[in-house]
Each structure stands twice: as C-alpha cells, then as structure tokens.
Symmetry: D2
Subunit: 477 residues, 4 copies
C-alpha cells in the first residue's frame, strides 16, 4: 500500500473507463466526465485515447484529470466521428519514469494500434516479462500493461479477442482492464474478480442503441448519463462492436472481490457485485457497535471515509451522531511542508475539532488503521479540544499483510497491526479503548458470495509473486 | 453576492491575517499556514507582506494560497528577522484588472511603507475617492484599500495610529482590516462589527511573550499554534509593537455582526463574538424542526454546509440522520464546461445521491437559497434516485436584499426570494414542502447581543452607498 | 548601466510605443508588432494599454513581448473600436517588486484614467517624490512614471495637455514618454532630447488619415506599416486627437541626444535626429582606422554590434573583413549557470572562433568596453584559436562616468576606464594593441548638431541627481 | 524537408551527443552544454539519459534545451558517479504523438537497459518494422530508433556490440547514432557517412584519461572542453568502456557525406570529415562569383546563413561587402500570427533593410532556395528600400528532389526548382538576375572525396524507401 502521510489509508492504484458508441459521440468529453467521477481512485496521473475507426489520439500526463485536460488538450482529443475511447486515473508509484508510466499505454501491433489501461496487479508479470526479454522483446516502461500487450501481440495468428483471452490465462493476479483497438472496446476482470469492473449503457437516440460504458465503479456510469447493466463477472472477457455486447467466460473461479472497496475505496453512491456501498458501511458500523459496545456521549466520524460506519454505529448504539471534526476542503492540495513536522502539520491542517467534543465521551469511527501515526494525532486533537474519553472504533479488521492485487505493497513491517497487538496499538494512539470489526463481522456486513481479505488473513486467493525468480539485472529501471 | 454556479451560495469576499512577533520568527511560513486555514473565505487571490523592520517584501497573485505560494515564492518572502506580516485571501470580483487588485496593497507614504488588507466594504468609498481625485490624488486600483491608505497618508501631521483612527471615522460600512508598517501591526473593525476579527497569541519562548495574531476566524489562530484571546470589538482599533497590545475604541456603535458568518461562512471549528459556530448551527436545525415539523424517514444534509443544521433537525425531530448525498471532493477544481448545460453538470459532478434516499421520505437541509437553480437540481437528483418525498428546510430566512458590507452585491432581481413567495419557490424547485427558518428563530439560535440581517430585512445598520453622487466618468475602470 | 555578464555592454532601459487611430484598428496587435521591433531596448518586462474611448484595458508582466503576450492575453486587450494605445518594453532593475514596477503605469485621476510609459530617467524624481509624500501622496511603485503622474494629477484645474506641460517643466533629466487617456495620445521628450522619440503615420484608408505612431526608434514605425514623419523635438510635447497632430514647444534647450544610440543601442535599420545609424557606424569604423592604423590580415567584428564599425574599418584600411567569431543565436536564452565559472561560460557558449583567425593577425572591432571582463575572454578565444596578433579597436571612447539619463548607473569604480589607462586596459584584456575612437572623432562620425557624451566626459547637459536631499527612509522599498 | 515559413530553409532533423567518462563527472551538466551547442540542429525537443553503472535516469520533452532543462529537471539527472550519458535535440515532425516521440528512446532488453538517439533516417525502417510486427513485436512510437532497438534486442545470443553491428547491416539509409547501456557508450555512422559524427576527448585529470565525447559537430566537443580526435568513419561502429576507444568497420562504402552540412546546417566554427565549414563557404561564394559575375555596388548576405558565401563573393568580385539586412535577434521566438499574412509578416519582423542598399545595385547572397516564397519577400524588401538592382546568388544548386536521409521530405512539387526553370524562378522572386552555384562548382568548393547531392541530382547513394511494400494499416499512428 502507498501511504499518504495525511491520511495513512491504503491507496487504490487506479480507475479505468471505456466507451463504445454505435453512433458518433464526443467521447473525449464523456471520458473526461467518467474519469472525473473516478478521480478518488488515482490522483497522480490521468490519460485517455480516442479513435474514430481511423485516427487514434492519445494524451496523458501527471496530475489530476482537471489539471491534465485543460480545454486545449481535451480539444486535441476530440474526433467528430469518435466511436471508441478508454481512460485511466492512476495513483502513481515512486520512480524516475513516472511521466512515461502513465496510462493508457498505446502501441502498434500486428492487430493494429491498441490502447490498454488496467487497475490491479499481475503477480507473475516479472517472470513473464523476463521470459519475453530473453526472446528479444523490448520493455519501454515498468508498467504491467506492457506485459499484457506483449502477450497479445505475440499471438500473431489469433484475432484480438482470442489473443486477449489467451493472455488472460497466462497472467495471474487481481486486475480489471479496458482495451481498445480502432473499432472495438474490450474489458476483462481477473478470475477471482478481485478488482471491480461494471457495464453500463447510455440511452440510445434515433433508433440506435446507446453507447456502452465500462468503468471501475457505477458513479462513472452515472456521470455520463448511463445506467448500470451489470458487473463484469470474475474471469469474464466482454467486448463491444457494431453488434453490441459480447461475452466470453475465459477462466471463472471462486469470486473474491476486494473487501476494501466496501470499507473505503469505492464511492458511497453505488453498488459493486450487487452490494450497495453506503448500506454496507452502515452495517459495518452497526456490527462494530454490537461487537464492541461502549458508554459514551457522541459518535464522531473521521471525515469523510468514516461517516457511513459512524452513522451505523450511532443508530445501533443509540449514542447521538455529531460532527466533531471539521475537514478543510482544501487539504488535498499540494502543501509546502518545509520541516520534519510536515506530516503532523498536514493532519492538523486537514482536521480540526469542533466544540461538539468538548467535555464529551467520544466514540471515534474510522475505516482503517495502517501505520497508526495519523490515528494518534487525531486522538490527540480530540483530547486537546476537551474530549474526556476517546473510544476508537475501526470498521476494518487489523491489516497484517501486504496486498499484491493492485494496492501497492508497503513493507509488512510498516503495518502496525502486523507487529503489535490491539492493546499495544491502543497505547500507541493514546485512545481509551480501541476495537476493530472482526473479520467474520466484516464478511457479514458486506455479504455477497466471497471476499478477498488477504491483507487481514494472509490468504491470497489469486496467488503471490515469486520474487526469487526475477532476473533483477534486466528488469530494474 | 457573487454566485458560484455550482453552489448558489452567498460568497464571502475575503479573509485577513496578521502577525506581530517580539522575537524573530518565520512569519512568511506562519502567514501561509494562517491563510491556508482561511482559504474558504476567498479562493481567487492570495497575498502577503513581511517586514523585518528594514526590508519590506510583498508577493500576491491570482490563485489559491497553495498555488500562489510555491516554495520558491514563499522563500522569496522569508526574512531571517521578520517581525511583522499580514496576509489576505480574496474572492475576487470580475473585472479586467484582477491581478492588480489583489491584496495586500502596499504603498510608500509619509509614514513609511505600509501594507493593508481588508475584508468588507466601505459604503462611501466612491464619494471619498471622488473628493480626493479632485484634490489631485491618484488611484491605481479599484480596491477600497487604496482609499483607506490615501486617507491615512493625507494626515501627514499625525502618526500612523492617529491617522488610522481618523480614517476609520471617515469611512462608513462593514469592514475588518489589518495594516502594517515596518514595525507595527494594526487591526480594526467597523463601528458595528459587521465583519469579524479575532486576536490570538502564540506561546512565548525564552521569557519573551509569544507572537500576536489577528485573523478573520479563530481557525487561523489555531493553525499557527495560537490561542484565542478575544474578538476585536466593534469600532475598536488595536495595534501591536514592542510593548504588546494597545487598544483604542474609535467609534463603537451597536454591535450587529453579520448573521451569515454563523449560517454559512465561518468554519464550524470556532466561535465568533462569543458564539460557537457549530453549536449555533445545531440550534438553527432544531429551531427549523420546531418551526416546520414534517413526517419523514430521514434527514439529509446538503454537504458540507448543511450538516450542522441537519444534525440539529434530526435530533429535535427524532427522524434519523443519514448521508443521502455524496460530495465529490474534487468538485472545487476548475472544470471544463463546454456547453450550455455547464451549470447543471457542475451540480451533478459535485453531488450524487446514495441508496439512503431510495424509497424514503427525505427532509433535505441546506443553509440558504439564493437563486434557487441549484436547489431545484438537488431536489431532482433525490427524486430520480427514488426519494418518495422531498421536504426542503433552509437554516436562513429568505434572502430578499443585497449586501453592501463585503458580500458583493448581486442584482436584487436575481434573488429568488425578492420576487417570489415561499410557495412559488417551492414550485420552482419542485420540493414537496419548503420552509425557511424565521428571522426571529435565527436570532434566537445564534443568540448574542445583535445581528446584521440586512439581506433578510433591508435594514442596513451601517448605511448604504449613495450611488448618485459618484463621478462615474472618472472612476470607472 | 546594467551589466549583462555575457555582453558587458551598457544596457538601455526601455522602449516606448504609442498609437492614435482616427478609425477603429486592432491596436493591441499593432502595439505587439511595434514592441516586438523594440525588443532589443528591454528584455525583462513588457506591457501595453488599449482604449476605445470607453473601456481601458491594460496587461503587463515580466518576460519578452512574445512571452508576456500569448494569444489569450493579447485577445484580452483587443477592443473592436480601439483608438488609442501605448506599449513599453523594459530592461528591469533589480528589486523585490519587479512585477509591480512593469509599465505602462495606469491610474485614475481627475483627468480620467491615464496610462504612462517612459524611457529614461528624471534626475530630480526623488526630491519631487519626497515633497509630494509630505503633502500626503501615496507611491505604490518605485517607478519614475508615478512621480510624473502625480504631478499631472496635482494640477486639477488644468486640462491634460496643460498639466503635462507643467509636469515637464518640473522634472529634470533625460526622458521620452508616451501618455494616453481614453481619447488622446501624448508624447514628449526632455529639453535636451537625450532619449529618442519619433513620429510616424500609417497609410489612411477610405478618406480617413492613417493612424499616428510614436516610437523610440523608426524600426517600430516600419513594423506597423507606418512611414517616418519626423523626430519629436527636444523639449517638445506632441498630442494626437480627432484633429490630428498638435505640438507645443514646452522647454527646448540645446539638443544633446545620447551618443550611445548610434554607437550601440539603436537598430541599424533606421535614423535618429536625421542621422542614419548604419552609416554612422561605418564612419566610426573608418575614423577608428584613420586614428589607429595597424598592419594586420583580417578585420573581425564582435557580432552583432561590432559589424558596422568593422566593415568601415576594413574599407578604410584595405584589410579584408572576415567572420572570425560565430555567434550562437540561442545565446540570449536563460541559461543554467551552476558554478562560479558561469560568466566565462556564457561568453564561451555565445561566441566561438572560426578558422578565419587561425595564423592571422586580427583587428577585432567592438563598440564599447565597460568592465573589460568579456573583452579579455574574447581576446583569449581568438588567441586559443591560433590568432597570431589581436588588435582591439573600440568604436566608442573610454567610458569613465555613469549615466543618469535612463541607462541605469553602475558604480563608477566598476567602469574599467575610470580607473585604468588605455595601456593598463590593454594588458588586462591581453590584446597586442588597443585603441578607442577619440571623442572628437566620434562626434564627427555621428555628425548632427550636438551629442551627450557624459559617460566619456562627465559633463552632464541635463543635470545630475541631488542624492543627499533624499528622504531615504520613506522612499526605499 | 520541413519548411519553416520564416526561413524557407531545409531543416536538419537532429543533433546527437554522448559521453563516456572513466572517472565520475557531472555528465548531466556536460550533456546540457553539448546539446546547447547543437541547438541549431533541432529546436522542438530535447532529451538526455545518464547512468552511473547502476541507476539510469532519462528526461526529455518538447522545447529548447534551456526550456526543457531548468535547474530542477537537470538536478533530477545528476548522478554523483555518472559515467555514461547521451543527449538529443530534435526538429520534430508533425503528428499527434510528438511528446512520446522525443529522444533518447530508452528500453529494457536482454542486454539490460539501453538508450538510443539518432540523427537521420532508415530508408527501409517500415519494411523491417512490418516484418517484426508480424513476428509479435510492439511499437510504442513512430520513432525509427525503436526499430533499431528491436533489431538489437532480437539478437539475444549476441552481446551489445555484436548485436548493434548486426542491426547496422540490416538497416539502410543515412544516419548517425549514439547508444548507451549502463556501462558503455556506442556510436555509429551509416556506410556512406551521410550524417556526421565526430569523436573528441577531454583533458584527463589525476592520471586518468579524459572523458570521451561523441557529437554531430565539433562545436559540441569544444563546448565541453574536449578537442577533436577524428570523425567516425562511414560504416564504422565505435564504443567506449574502461579500456577506452574501440572500433569496428562494419560496412564501409564510398563516403558521400551530405553536402548541405557545408552549405547551411553545420556551424561555421568547425570542420567535418576534414573540411572546414567557414572556409568552404568562402570558396562557395568565390566560385559563385567566378561562375556568375555581375556589375554591382555592394554584396549583401541574407543573415546569418549567407554571410560566409557573401564574403567569398565580395572578395573574389572586388565588390564591397556590406550589411544591407538587419536581422532581429528575437525573430526565432514563438510569434503570434493571427492572420493569413502571417508568413509574410514573419519575414518582415525578422529582416529589415538598412540604408546600405539605398540607391545601390545589390548582389544578394543566400545559401539556398526551397520554395522561393521567402526569397521573393526579401527581394521586395530591398527594392522597397531603394535598391536599384537586385542580383540573387545562391550557394547551392537548385533543389529538385526530396531528401530521404534525415532531412524530412517535403512533397517534391513544393520544391520550386523541381517545376520551374531558373529564369522562371527569377521572375517569381522578382530579382534582376538569379544564379545558382553549379553542382560541380559546389563539389570543388567543398572538396573532399565524395558528397551526397541527391537533392540536386536525384541520385541517392544510400537507397530510397520502398513505399509500396508498407503495411499501412498496421503502421499508421
């Protein structure tokens, strides 16, 4: 996981988006709207490609969607007869080649020019890459998408759909991808459905069916005026062309979607795999209250991600909900931090206690604790503001293991729960009591048929990387 | 009032900040922190001056605090022995000279070099300016601060404090100002205290007293580690030098602070004139519930400004509070809006209904309605998402008159409540019921000794501009 | 004088430009063209104002004309019915307020809104400013234009032309100014005509007379399709309105235009005060050859400013002209210079010897020597490239005194010729022989009725500043 | 050829630069200096890679060297123990992927990470690329370097030097390349030596040999303090490692270096393939005078590229050389050109006649005529300025055929000399007489063993593209 010092939250790596329109549409503009709705999934780079069946335009850069695509650059992507487009937002990893690693990745192959954007991670990408290097392949980026594209290009005797299905079988891990040629839009999800991908459709006009949409979350469908059709199934490959939606179940396995989508990542205005995000958070809060009741005066969320669980907790416990922490809406902006105190300052500049906590026993509800540093500061803020007791409640179980499915891995030793007991963490953060939701309680609150909880349990449904096999010399940047 | 199409809220014009430190401090950095905390009071320009008793540096530009002051520009303001500084954030009016109208305004006078930043408006500035023009004065900006500085400079026989007091007597209206020379920090508030200004002090070190702070709101004191000492009194002039805090009551009149500070402008993590912001909003919501009860399933705030009143409403009514509208945290960013539908799109990109409203009777709580266009769209969003009833509750009375005290005036005809009855507005916005808090209820909820409610009543405690006297030819830009 | 380390040349401070058109014209665009032609007179800031009789737009910033005025900013200045405009390029002095000191300066006065841009310097500006401060005036910049504008505004009983004439009488020094109101363009030149200003007119269309133009040099007239009408006379005030060109001889004295306009500043494609620039440089070179003959193989100019004199030298001496120094056309760009060797590096990156000098006795012709550091490096370059002898010839006399008329003053001790004999300078720069043109020879080469040679002689025709009278505390930035 | 509307000159596509240092050096800084000296070979993109044997940093972007590499970005490339670096400047072709086509191109291969930059063109790149696509290769750019890198990577059994030699044999055309791994610098030139590449070495320190340098022209050697060792030979592959310089003659053929390097491209302060640039231009001018004598008063160059030939013409003919055209040194800057008259305006803003031409019969010397539009305008300028006759002399033969060796091809029909006789061109440009140097005269003036004159003769020594074989669908962007 990548840590933002001011949030100490796990960070999703990416959001993907795609459009196929039977009739000409302003796809650059629609993709801009879709990416804007997915901005919370990746703040460091944005990009898109658009094709009209002939021209194939791409633009991408470091920055927010609204920073990368000013009017001039968006105009440069507008094609009067655009039919296919994909887009991507990325929470970038560190490295010297950031700019060149932005997605979508575009390339010319024996199947024509292709654009690919992915969310997630291929756990065996290094091994596959290493083998292809030995066969004479080039890798211009350290982006996993390039491995997928090489696999697709290698099957020169297959058509694009066949070659993509073949590549899906070769790559392991948790991922959701959108892929476009000049005339087709494809989308696919790993066999376990770890990363989300949904299908939508816009209203048609003039007898024609409306444009098809793929997106990491339903909010991006709504942003372009589409309704949710269904989720792409685990292991399913879908594609769109003049004949509409096609589907191939390439390699379906037991579904284990990432539980953190419901805990924290996904926007609360949608549902994934049939489970409403907001309602599941209310249930997590209620479950927390049942599992870990306490006597207190108010329930306060860490805004904004703790709000749903805090309301659920308040309702179940009967303790009044209140707004005890003001969140500065400008806190996400780049902030000069000249000294060692930068991290603490960022929390203080972001969150500020209101009078609600003064003289009160506070139940503080947050969605997760990664390293615990931020939690300690928030507890301190409340205590300094006169809270008489602070009872910390967390709507996820302790995070003890790294993620290998697209939530970039932090060293395990940085995860406070991997080396400390709950009581030790309580002492570290200075709360009067501390409780996490149980893993079983979380599964009940989310419901559904299965969940990936690898970061709580260390059981990785979609495999782990074989780090020792890697040809390090050839692969490092 | 200036309207932001995506909020349709009244817009405060400015935030001011000032520091006087008996010992050398990194005042550029502290001013940056203070302005960052006041960012919500003005998003279009930021500026500051810093002096060490000898050098006098100024920098300002269009943009957010974090955009104007990157590390290089902040470094350019750092003086090793800095003792005095002021800062400003501005919600800029339209006009061709935006860049040159940014504050603080600096000028050389017979009292040495001065810097001035103000929040608010001088209602007789045009008349005063016109008279001075006839006497041979120059005006390089259309900024009211320049009129104040000319008045101060004109009294060449007085010292800075006397000249400032004299200028306060000449200018009418609602304002709060910070003023600095190389060695002094001054602050003053209009006779009625329409605009806010608070005094704080940092912890001293090494026997010395800590730095003195002036700010529009307490949050900016906390941001620099200062505690609230007290509010500057209506009509009071305070100044700081080596001997600490000095005060002169220049022209105190009946206090009538702006009620919109409690309704909407001020951050919920502080108190103004002794009245806590968050608590007053809870009381407004409770008052609304008492005045306008309704049967419903959930109470939903328009985030973020309606949260406090919604919690108050929910508690008083017993109807559960829920999060029915997701707010995109990136919605404040510059957003390309290529078509006529831009305004509607901005609302849709900003607010999105959650499943909480589906099949429910919703009490929707917002702080104000200006033109009503945004309200109509929010009601539509909820109805489209399956809300069976929408009962709109507003924690301010109908706005029927323009403001002349620093909340820039919209044409009166644009204020929907100046030309429509409550029932007509209800029909316009499509709600099932609509109710505003009563003016008396608002005054009770806020409490305190007096309030300016000119925009509800048309009674202007601090006077109105005499538009006909203005020498228009000489004054227009 | 301001020294550019890579040229070691005296630096002109500014170029001015103005337009009055009886019929609507795209004056923003024409002013852009005019300023582009004057770019060599000032590279650090550019600005312009445009009026259509009602609106009055201004924009200015640090940077070259083409950097400040991109299409968006130029469009912002375009008025469909524009009639009056002025523009300015500036070689900026150091200081913390650079951005705010850019010209034109605009201000509202009892004569309406005015814009002023000047080239040159008022030697008694500090005294006048000091007096006005005591009377209650404000000074927002350290720009001399503001003093002139205050003097004009002070005469509230006079019209603009009378007030300007009155201000001309009060301010001493060497200057050329353009001034505009919404409906008039004014231009004026100091009593001695130290700084240049020319009048041109465009071809009229449809019976109307063509637009009138004022500019520092004729090249800017040609750039907008105007022909040269005449020079503004020393001490003359001209103005343009619906009735055409008007003139008032305010205070004409003995003409002494700046000799450095012919030596170095002015572009070679024009004439000033009736004397052609290119031809005068040929004559300077010929004069140098007559005064200081030498036996050599080739005559080499320091490009580009030494070309004219080198051709003249070659013709008079019969020694072949050749291109011995290549000049990198990108050398004017901002160049990172990380070490102490920066200055030397800049010369080396700019100038590079060709094979023409190998094994040759070289006469090297340059227009001036200020500190001598660059001259030494150029001599070294030639010697390293195999020149057997280097005979340095300079087409200006030794610079021994600072300039007070708009060529910003360096400390006198930095002028190598003020503290060293010609023989000492020769040793410093390492040339085999060194000779400067004589002052009399220069005057003969330029011709005309009189010349300012204060920097060679210390005789200042237009007075010197009274530095001791200045109220330093009140005036410093 | 790419046409710059304000010059109408053939445009070189690129400059390359490389360094191998036995001891740690600040290679990022030295590469910056080298690229700055080569800026005239490509103004639209710049880039470099640096390695210390372990890390491998790359940065590149659109813009001049000084625009791309500000201090921050240059610092990002600084490695304390840097040993190898390459750099590139590019005159970019049009296309939607400009940013991604900038060089050096970097990629991970079975030979480790590689960086490649090239000047010139592979005439069979499309065929090779097409074949590799069919074998499953990806092409992310439309850059020829990627084809070269694929060829190198394909030979997985060979080491880097062997694989590069093998790739040289496969690719046809005119090119000069620099290639680096983490520990080696390679350079190679096509079999005919069409594009230039020189070897230099810096002074060693402390017993160690100095850094080795590769560059398109000697000026870049001098810029980093290196002396010229020799030219890379046609068909030669050189490489540098701890043991110094190694060489392999891969495929030497009859040398035919591009004649336009001497006519126009190369800086006049160096020599290529043993022939001094400046001297050859003097000889071209003398040859022109012998071949096409005329009676006239002055010889005037089109600055700066016609200067050398004009001096040669003047000496041979005895007609005085003079500066009849002033060149605005800011003319290379981006210039807003809002109307159809843009092209003409650019010439007028760039060149301006001096008084030297008034009443004179002028021999005007330029290096080439491509489309003739600019030539016509220059002739007009001189005539308008009073030249009584204009005799146009061109130091290259008529350009009748496109170039396939790195000077990007214009459509043949745009070359005025391919469709018009000399007399017709004379009429088009309005000169009194017009003469080009003969092809034989040019060869004599340059000397050396052979020259590529394909653009004059249509005889292409290094082959031509087989356009019909191209798989267009798969290859277009």
């Amino acid at each position: 996981m990548i840590f933002d010092p001011a949030t100490d939250k796990p960070q999703d790596e990416c959001g993907v988006f795609g459009l196929y329109s039977p009739a000409p549409e302003d796809l650059a503009w629609l993709t801009y709207l879709g990416l804007f709705a997915l901005q919370h999934r990746g703040q460091e780079a944005a990009g898109m490609c658009v094709s009209d069946g002939d021209k194939f335009h791409v633009d991408k850069d470091l920055g927010l969607v609204t920073q990368v695509f000013d009017e001039r650059r968006l105009d440069g992507l507008r094609l009067p007869n655009a039919r296919v487009s994909i887009g991507h937002v990325r929470y970038s990893t560190t490295g010297s080649n950031l700019r060149f690693n932005a997605q979508p990745l575009t390339t010319r192959t024996n199947k024509g020019i292709l654009g690919l954007a992915h969310n997630g991670n291929f756990v065996n990408a290094r091994e596959v890459r290493s083998g292809m290097l030995m066969e004479g392949a080039l890798f211009q980026t350290t982006n996993d998408s390039e491995v997928m594209l090489n696999l697709i290009a290698r099957e020169s005797h297959m058509d694009l759909v066949e070659a993509t299905a073949s590549a899906m079988k070769e790559l392991k891990g948790g991922y959701a991808c959108v892929l476009m040629s000049r005339t087709q839009l494809l989308g696919f999800r790993d066999p376990h459905g770890v990363r989300p991908l949904v299908i939508g459709q816009r209203e048609g006009t003039g007898g024609a069916g409306g444009a098809w949409v793929l997106a990491s979350e339903p909010c991006a469908l709504y942003a372009v005026g589409a309704r949710l059709i269904r989720d792409v199934q685990p292991g399913e490959l879908v594609w769109f062309d003049r004949d509409g939606l096609h589907s191939l179940m390439v390699e379906p396995k037991r579904p284990t979607p990432c539980s953190f989508e419901w805990i924290y990542f996904a926007r609360s205005d949608g549902a994934l795999d049939g489970v409403d995000i907001h309602e599941s958070r209310l249930r997590m809060g209620a479950q927390l209250a049942r599992e870990n009741p306490i006597e207190a005066d108010i329930v306060v969320p860490v805004p904004d991600s703790g709000i749903g669980a805090a309301i659920g907790y308040a309702r179940e416990s009967g303790i009044p909900f209140d707004y005890g922490l003001y969140k500065n809406p400008y806190a996400g902006r780049t902030f000069i931090a000249p000294t060692q105190e930068a991290r603490e300052l960022k929390v203080k500049m972001k969150l500020s206690p209101t009078s609600a906590v003064r003289g009160r026993r506070v139940v503080l509800v947050d969605d997760s604790i990664v390293r615990g540093t931020t939690s300690r500061q928030i507890v301190n803020l409340l205590q300094d503001a006169g809270a008489t007791e602070v009872h910390f409640r967390v709507s996820s179980p302790p995070i003890t293991h790294p993620c290998f499915y697209g939530i970039d891995t932090a060293a395990r030793k940085e995860l406070v729960a991997s080396t400390h007991s709950v009581e030790e963490i309580r002492q570290l953060i200075g709360a009067d009591t501390l409780a996490f939701i149980s893993e079983r309680g979380l599964r009940e609150a989310i419901g559904g048929s299965g969940l990936c909880g690898a970061c709580f349990t260390g059981e990785y449904p979609a495999g782990t990387p074989l780090l020792n096999d890697v040809d390090k010399l050839a692969l490092e940047v």
